[in-house]
């Protein structure tokens, strides 16, 4: 019986283990009574029951990050919405994952991300597999109502395993977490603060030739075009073209 240690362990296993008891937990999601194993998060319990909650920062099996906030849900009795990826389920919880309040909030969040995102989808190498685009389409978000500065960073293409374009970064921190989960010295960390915060390599230098140890863990989970593999024209794309309705 021990509470999780935030500083060292980044593995999902063990988080909320202090809550684990023998009995299954019964809760109500979107009006349906379900039961789930104790120690699960709301997101995990919802997914086990076939309910999809959007998220841009969650990585299965690793510690929740909680940065993107897209997975927020309504829990009866809670003053604010709660992040479903990091909140453990509790007996008798009544949850709404797609109420009008939740949807309106998620839309604003996506609009906020798009407000400072470059309008480069037409020529973005990951446009067809971009999770941000997919979620924006699902939530029927078009041009954002809000305006914010765009981030302009030069594309880092020195490394032959990975191309990094920080102007497309949505600061989900998946790459930071994924890199930390691999053996060896992590490449990425966070620097600066507020709107200027940024995932940095080293002391905020461009990715160099020797940077990457070729596990590709971060590239595969990057939800936007910020991290990608170098691709020559004519080479096969990662997925088929994305069709967005409407």
């Amino acid at each position: 019986m021990c509470a999780p240690d935030h500083s060292k362990n980044i593995n999902r296993v063990g988080l909320f283990s202090y809550l684990i008891v023998e009995k299954k937990i019964s809760l109500n999601i979107n009006g349906i009574n379900v039961s789930a194993r104790p120690g699960l998060t709301i997101l995990e319990a919802a997914r086990e029951n076939g309910i999809d909650i959007p998220t841009l920062c969650h990585i299965p099996d690793l510690l929740p990050i909680g940065a993107c906030r897209l997975c927020v849900v309504e829990v009866a009795g809670s003053r604010t919405l709660v992040g479903s990826c990091h909140t453990p389920i509790a007996e008798g919880m009544v949850i709404q994952t797609h109420s009008p309040k939740v949807i309106a909030t998620r839309r604003v969040l996506v609009e906020l991300m798009l407000a400072s995102h470059p309008d480069a989808c037409l020529i973005c190498d990951k446009a067809n597999i971009c999770e941000l685009r997919r979620i924006a389409a699902d939530l029927e978000v078009g041009l954002p109502r809000f305006r914010a500065r765009k981030h302009y960073f030069p594309v880092e293409d020195e490394n032959d395993r990975m191309v990094r374009d920080m102007s497309k970064c949505v600061q989900c921190r998946r790459c930071v977490m994924a890199c930390k989960s691999q053996s060896g010295q992590p490449l990425f960390s966070m620097a600066y603060r507020g709107f200027d915060s940024k995932v940095i390599y080293g002391n905020d230098q461009p990715l160099d030739r020797d940077a990457c140890r070729d596990c590709d863990a971060c590239i595969e989970i990057c939800p936007s075009g910020a991290l990608r593999k170098p691709r020559k024209p004519g080479e096969e794309r990662a997925d088929k073209a994305l069709f967005i309705k409407g």
Binding site: R69, V72, L112, D196, S197
Partner: protein
């Protein structure tokens, strides 16, 4: 209602450099009583019965927090005193640290005894560096007199970040990390500093502990209102004749504090609780100062009729955008967007459509942000839109 000095009773009375003058004023008698006559359970029950709520702004019941940490499994536990006092317009903790650091240390030691902690930290904001020597000398004197009794009390200095006054970011900072909000649960009482059960209390909260232990919960709970017991120390600044630190029973009307005590005239609005606090217009001056109405950390900034509301709200938002830790989307992006919209209004280039956008954005930030900063960042915008909408409409581009 005049001032009522409970927390500040020793300020300007004792010599803050000499422990002897504190001992002459019943110093460390509460600690002796707590250690010799009371079990940890009795102490937390006493604090619970007193109705003491956190003075750092959130108003969480102190006794419940202590009980959580006391009953949490684990041999290693920590007490943290939050002396980051970062909220804009607060300076009460500085006054307390300057004038009566001994009561604070006594409060920390009682807290340590109550939850079973052997180690405590005072997190001192970087801007209070000049108090470091003074505070260390206090701890040294207490140590020499043998009051620590195996407890280890150290000072940790911040590095100037507003967010590090937020309890979870503060713990990250003590751990040597970048100060960022953590998601809860797990709460600090089960998994706080280095993952161990931890209580974090504001300076003023801990100042209330020795008098409660000495005089009893019943004595304490007769002061204040039904849901806000005791007194509160206010930092009054802005357009007033006598800015400074005032202590009043909770539930006292705002008007008595700003007009009668501090001598404010021609009030246009008052901001209570600093940058993330509420804004009240002059008509609302009879609002009681209590957790059930308005309070925060007790920063009271008065603006007279010569001040421009949009200018104040814009600068407040610029500050919050600068100080957001950047971890979660609504706060990082939302404060930036709000600062840009308000800058337009400040330049008479606003639009009515953007007023609706501000409302939608505020609601998302309040609902989805991870910590109190993002959740409370839109307060000044929403309140000023409610009470001073005309001033916004005047700034719409023609």
């Amino acid at each position: 209602m005049p001032q009522q000095r409970v927390v500040l009773k020793n300020c300007e009375v004792i010599d803050p450099e000499r422990i002897e003058s504190y001992l002459a004023k019943d110093g460390f008698k509460a600690l002796a009583k707590a250690r010799q006559e009371m079990t940890p359970e009795q102490i937390t029950n006493e604090i619970k019965a007193s109705g003491l709520r956190g003075r750092g702004g959130a108003g969480f019941p102190c006794g419940i927090k202590w009980e959580g940490a006391r009953t949490a499994p684990g041999d290693i536990k920590y007490v943290i005193c939050n002396a980051d006092e970062g909220e804009v317009g607060t300076f009460k903790d500085r006054y307390i640290l300057e004038k009566d650091p001994f009561t604070l240390v006594e409060g920390i030691l009682i807290a340590g005894h109550a939850i079973g902690a052997k180690q405590g930290y005072i997190y001192l904001r970087a801007e209070y560096h000049h108090l470091l020597q003074h505070l260390q000398s206090t701890i040294d004197q207490v140590t020499q007199r043998g009051f620590l009794n195996g407890f280890k009390l150290e000072i940790r200095e911040g590095a100037g970040a507003y967010i590090c006054g937020e309890e979870s970011a503060l713990m990250d900072s003590i751990e040597g990390k970048r100060g960022e909000a953590r998601y809860r649960p797990p709460f600090p009482t089960t998994s706080g500093l280095w993952g161990k059960p931890t209580i974090i209390n504001n300076v003023e909260t801990l100042m209330n502990i020795p008098p409660i232990i000495l005089n009893g919960a019943a004595w304490f709970s007769q002061m204040g209102t039904e849901r806000s017991k005791g007194t509160k120390v206010f930092s009054v600044s802005g357009d007033v004749e006598k800015p400074g630190v005032y202590e009043m029973a909770l539930g006292s009307p705002l008007r008595e504090l700003v007009e009668d005590l501090a001598g404010a005239k021609n009030i246009k609005m008052v901001q209570i609780g600093g940058a993330t606090g509420r804004v009240l217009p002059a008509e609302k001056l009879d609002t009681p100062l209590a957790f059930e109405a308005v309070l925060g950390a007790g920063a009271v900034t008065v603006y007279n009729r010569s001040r421009d509301v949009i200018d104040i709200v814009h600068r407040t938002m610029e500050f919050l955008a600068e100080e957001s830790c950047g971890k979660c989307t609504p706060c990082r992006q939302g404060t930036e967007v709000m600062a840009e919209v308000l800058a337009k209004f400040a330049k008479n280039e606003g639009s009515l459509k953007e007023l609706q956008n501000l409302a939608d954005l505020s609601s998302a930030m309040m609902l989805a942000s991870m910590c109190g900063l993002g959740q409370a960042a839109p307060n000044a915008v929403m309140d000023s839109l409610q009470y001073f909408r005309g001033e916004y409409e005047k700034r719409v581009a023609s």
